[in-house]
Symmetry: C2
Subunit: 349 residues, 2 copies
DNA sequence: TATGCGTGATGAACCGTTTCCTTGTCCCAA
DNA sequence: TTGGGACAAGGAAACGGTTCATCACGCATA
């Protein structure tokens, strides 16, 4: 059973291969009837054009590369899944690669994708400081961790955190602690700025509520836990009544720290996170968090690469708003929570 | 700056394109010195062969397709990441696709990958009952959810669960409940058999320990929770003292159910899961679980597709042993836990 | 009637490799 | 000395599409 090629189709349809090709590519200059006939034959034969041959001549591979630091991070795996979806809707496929937050590996991945002749690259850059070296003509869009000098798409971290902190303020909190991300990370800084925005705007009552309650930490669970320990290990009247963490994993680590210290959540401490990973709705109690619009980001990235949407200019990234997901870890501060007993939080919904 | 092609290399090295090609493909019939010279030129020019052209002629794409039901499932995302690693080590790249546990989508993905001329497919079949329709000549290896009739690779679920349940038995438990997976799922059945194996082998003392404590559920968190509620909603002397869940997510849901019922873990109830997802080590307390050897599975799958390892025969899959990861959710049963008070579990490590 | 033009289709060139067939060389055995 | 075999390298065909230059045709215009 020899492979069926474009020539077979052409022969059966009694047209030239060129015509079949134009049918395949929706080229306008082919009459409706002819198009129908050719398509009929194509289905009948079950013909599928060979992508290698196509791309060799046309320089279009219908392949998009995506490079992320770590696929086991739920944020990124959801990102990849969304991108795959969006790409599939356009007849494109996705090649995934992980950089493990290693600049050298990342550069290597980019090289591989380049030689694969992908039509574009979606990149979540590694946290190592570095610049991207890539051949011009290869569209690249930087996601989530924006880099100065490259057109990017991300959630509006700054505004998102601001909204989250404002939510805590609205609940009545004044001493609001903040667990920031690693200093050198761009989104970490943006989130921190969002915290400052909210706190500064809230004015005197807050500014005087105590010395800055800020802890720097990596984005992971364990770091969040020790940051939480740090913030909470002080006298009750100096201790924050709420903590906003820069990631859900940090927030969950912080919850653990609170439990270990016997501080009930949310009775004596409100905790909110950032990201909206699936895990955040599985904790006990459910975490309040700012959800990132992952699907929107992924879809926009694909749209940009496919020229369905203008690429964002280098100095003005596309930002999508975050959305507050109210869980059970936040509540109004209880001024009378001073009974001295270390009560356990109720484990009900 | 025109693209550098094989001809440019050939010209500069003063050899024929054929020779360059043979250098590229490690063909033996080219002298050391010539090989060195050509490689020199290749590096100098930064030449990278065009994969489309290569694959068109040679029928080898150095691409592997992987189809999984859902990338946000941490088990699968780790699987994909491991596969990507293994493939990268061999100069191969991975195209990911998600089937959303939908047989029709899955078939479509397979068709896409086929037309992409991937060199092989790694498939976690959807749970819909179905048979695979695929062109012969395309190597496919079924992972995790084995299907009769296809050569597969998986963890030894049955034995793994048996070991896990034996661990609970060894701790002294007799009334051991089991949350099974969906009935129609092959691995779910294997796991259930493992439970039966252990219980039957344990003999009289266990068989008489009460009526079967078995709940069927989907693999997810919410299902585990309601299954847990079902198993635990009975008089204390009929209630299981330990529960083995078929997935970590179920186990975590079950933990939630126990908390809601005021049953301390592990003081009054031991819980163990299956899979070893990262989340399992983040729960409070940390979950005891049977860890699946995901990397081994992924690496073996890639090795099979690349002919570095013989494909498993259709009726004898390759199985890898699971490994017990002792967490804090399991302990010896406390016969004196009958104080009547509903104590909260200590939240310490 | 002759000319020009737009349209739909043709056929061949072309994309950048791999691979097959051929040729030239060298060495060894007859 | 020469025929033959092994081996290295060259040259061109082949892979399966896309695209470009071209052409035939019908119709409006001069």
């Amino acid at each position: 059973m020899p492979k069926v090629g474009i020539r077979d189709v052409a022969k059966l349809a009694e047209v030239s291969t060129g015509t079949v090709s134009r049918v395949l590519n929706d080229h306008p200059s082919v009459t409706q009837e002819l198009r129908a006939r050719v398509n009929g034959i194509i289905n009948e034969l079950g013909y599928m054009p060979d992508p290698s041959a196509r791309s060799m001549r046309s320089k279009v591979s219908r392949l998009i590369g995506i490079i992320i630091p770590d696929l086991t991070n739920p944020f990124f795996s959801e990102l990849v899944q969304s991108a795959e979806q969006a790409a599939a809707n356009h007849g494109y496929n996705i090649i995934v690669m992980t950089s493990f937050d290693h600049a050298a590996k990342e550069a290597d991945r980019i090289r591989q994708l380049t030689s694969r002749k992908v039509d574009g690259i979606i990149l979540v850059p590694s946290n190592d400081f570095h610049t991207l070296k890539l051949p011009k003509g290869l569209p690249i869009v930087v996601i989530d961790r924006l880099m100065p000098g490259y057109s990017g798409i991300a959630a509006d971290h700054r505004n998102g955190v601001r909204l989250g902190v404002e939510y805590l303020l609205k609940l009545g909190h004044r001493r609001i602690g903040f667990i920031s991300g690693p200093k050198h990370s761009v989104p970490a800084n943006d989130r921190f700025k969002g915290y400052l925005d909210a706190m500064e705007q809230a004015g005197d009552s807050v500014q005087n509520a105590g010395s800055p309650l800020i802890a720097e930490a990596a984005f992971d669970y364990e770091s969040g836990r020790s940051a939480g320990n740090y913030l909470l290990a002080r006298a009750r009247n100096e201790r924050p009544t709420a903590i906003f963490a820069s990631s859900d994993q940090q927030a969950i680590g912080c919850m653990r720290a609170a439990y270990d210290l016997g501080i009930p959540v949310p009775a004596a401490l409100s905790i909110a996170g950032f990201d909206g990973i699936p895990l955040s709705s599985m904790t006990i109690p459910r975490l309040t968090t700012m959800k990132q619009p992952i699907q929107k980001i992924a879809a926009a990235a694909v749209a940009v690469l496919l020229n369905e949407r203008p690429a964002p200019s280098v100095d003005q990234p596309i930002l999508f708003a975050c959305e507050l997901s109210e869980g059970e870890t936040t509540a109004a501060p209880q001024p009378d929570y001073d009974s001295g007993i270390v009560a356990r939080p109720p484990y009900r919904n």
